[in-house]
Amino acid sequence: MARLALKGLEKRYGAATVVKDVSLDVADGEFIVVLGPSGCGKTTTLRMVAGFVVPTAGAIHIGERDVTRLPPWKRDTGLVFQSYALFPHLSVAENVAFGLEMRKMPKSDIGPKVEEALRLVRLGGYGERYPRQLSGGQQQRVALARALAIHPDVLLLDEPLSNLDAKLREEVRVEIRELQRKLELTTVMVTHDQDEALVMADRLVVMADGEVKQIGDQRALYERPENLFVAGFVGRSNIVIGRVDAPGRFVSDGGLGITCACAQAGPGCLTLRPERLTLGDGNGSANSFQGTVEFVSYLGAAIDVHVRLSESDRVVVALPNKPGVPTPNIGAQVTVSWPVEAGLVFPEASN
């Protein structure tokens, strides 16, 4: 186990820069999730840490060691591939033993280590089977056991759950996280699934267009997004386009005059979390607007009510599904309210 530090990491392919100036410090035993849409450079970053991609600039340190120029087989990272990448011609036990053999561990020690790693992922007794005889979830756990068996300095997970079905995914998330805590493994996981990221991470790194957009824990990203991308990507946000007229006053393109904590005048976007909006006059909330219900969807824990506030402004209000909270019908006239601090303004154009 060790610290992992990325310093100004960059990767260019010809004129295209796929990773720009990524710096990150991962503490010993910390679980970092790199979250971003596909093509944002997150997998390239992970592959640079594993040694499969040579960075154009920057440095990678694992513990005290500068590994930037080391080939993959000389770094102690354990990578779990999206496709699992199990060796099809080797049994489960031989798959797990492979890394130990490469470390020249005596044969008599390998057997118990393999058993231990397989027990850890609840696959004790499966050693004799071949990968093709296992289900997707079991193969995924073999891949994990294979990476854990070598006691890597850093555990790297490349979308490890994306090939599992939804139900299994939720179980394995928790399982991996508990295992990582127990073994105090420094871990970097890459995913595009924000639920997964939020459940598993100690801290998250949000990436887009090859850049780090924000680093922080779940609460920081959700409550205090630093830019419009993070506000839109982590959780759901209503985005109202308009401009800041005067300090504290945002006017939407549809003509709504909104009170908010904004200072800098100019065009921008106001974001509102759906669950921070309420229906009804909101007991003197700073912002109350009349609108027409256009769409209602029942999601179980919450009910989404889409309300048109002006010709160009429509917001989603997430009502908690509790007794005594009436659900409006489509076409109903309602009042949508929210407090000043619910609105965050970013001086960027929305796309």
């Binding site: 594993a50 040694g51 990272t77 990578l79 990448a85 060796f87 492979f98 490469m102």
Partner: protein, 276 residues
């Protein structure tokens, strides 16, 4: 009704398959049958059956020597063809480099050039090479030498090794090689422990097809054999110029059996239907 049409189609397909199979097997069946005829002149119906032609073939030194020569050449050409073809297939399938497509096509070319043309061309180049060598004071026998014959056979083995190994490489998962490297295996260990076992079906099939191609080659070899050295197909042809007794049929049965046994053994290890 639908079931009815389907079964009619089924019978048609099966019938067509049976006709094709019969068409392919017919010459083989007749050759094998003929090998056991008792009389010297092949006439139908046979006057009786005997194994005398197998004894005659075994007692004929030309056939025995030609058989040994063919075996030597086929084994040598297959081994050398694999040593050259497997790395070539890896390079073509795995790396981007200048004129990659052209090189890939060149590697398959010996397959499309008619054997007669190939034989003539190689013969001429052997003559030129010997003249050149003589010019610089070297007296190297190339024309009609065993080495020259093996080299020519390597040429017709290579397209098979390259093609079949490339095909298995295309289906192979490259991330398992990365997984091996991530676990601490260097490039050589990764190739030996991971890549090679996954392309084994292709290599086995390439060995078989390379061997069969070389062992059965007639047209090209005609130009390249030297005095006192013939391959089995050529020995059969020469024998047929003088005689038409079932000895050649018996020799063919031996040849067919060897190839059939090779295929059966191969199929035990690698299901041929999956690679070819």
């Amino acid at each position: 009704m639908i079931g009815g049409t389907r079964s009619v189609t089924g019978y048609l397909v099966k019938g067509a398959a049976a006709v094709s199979l019969g068409f392919i097997l017919m010459p083989l069946v007749f050759v094998v049958w003929l090998a056991f005829f008792r009389q010297e002149i092949p006439t139908f119906p046979p006057a009786g059956y005997s194994l005398r032609w197998f004894a005659a073939a075994a007692a004929n030194p030309t056939f025995v020597n030609a058989f040994v020569t063919s075996l030597q050449i086929a084994v040598a050409a297959t081994v050398i063809g694999l040593l050259l073809g497997v790395p070539a297939a890896l390079a073509v399938a795995r790396h981007r480099f200048f004129a990659r497509e052209t090189i890939n096509t060149l590697l398959l070319l010996p397959l499309v050039v008619p054997g007669i043309v190939l034989g003539t061309a190689i013969y001429v180049s052997h003559v030129e090479a010997e003249i050149l060598a003589y010019g610089v004071g070297l007296e190297v026998p190339i024309i009609g030498s065993l080495g020259g014959l093996v080299a020519a056979h390597v040429l017709i083995v290579i397209p098979w090794t390259v093609r079949l190994v490339t095909a298995t490489l295309a289906g192979a998962n490259r991330t398992i090689e990365e997984a091996a490297q991530n676990l601490g295996a260097g490039p050589f260990t990764t190739f030996w422990r991971i890549t090679l076992p996954t392309i084994r079906p292709g290599i086995v099939a390439a060995t078989l097809f390379g061997f069969v191609t070389s062992f059965g080659n007639l047209e090209m070899s005609l130009f390249l054999v030297g005095p006192g050295r013939t391959t089995l197909p050529i020995a059969i042809l020469q024998y047929l110029e003088w005689k038409l007794d079932p000895t050649v049929a018996a020799v063919s049965v031996v040849q067919i059996s060897i190839i059939a046994v090779a295929m059966l053994i191969t199929d035990r290890y690698v299901k041929l239907a999956r690679v070819v």
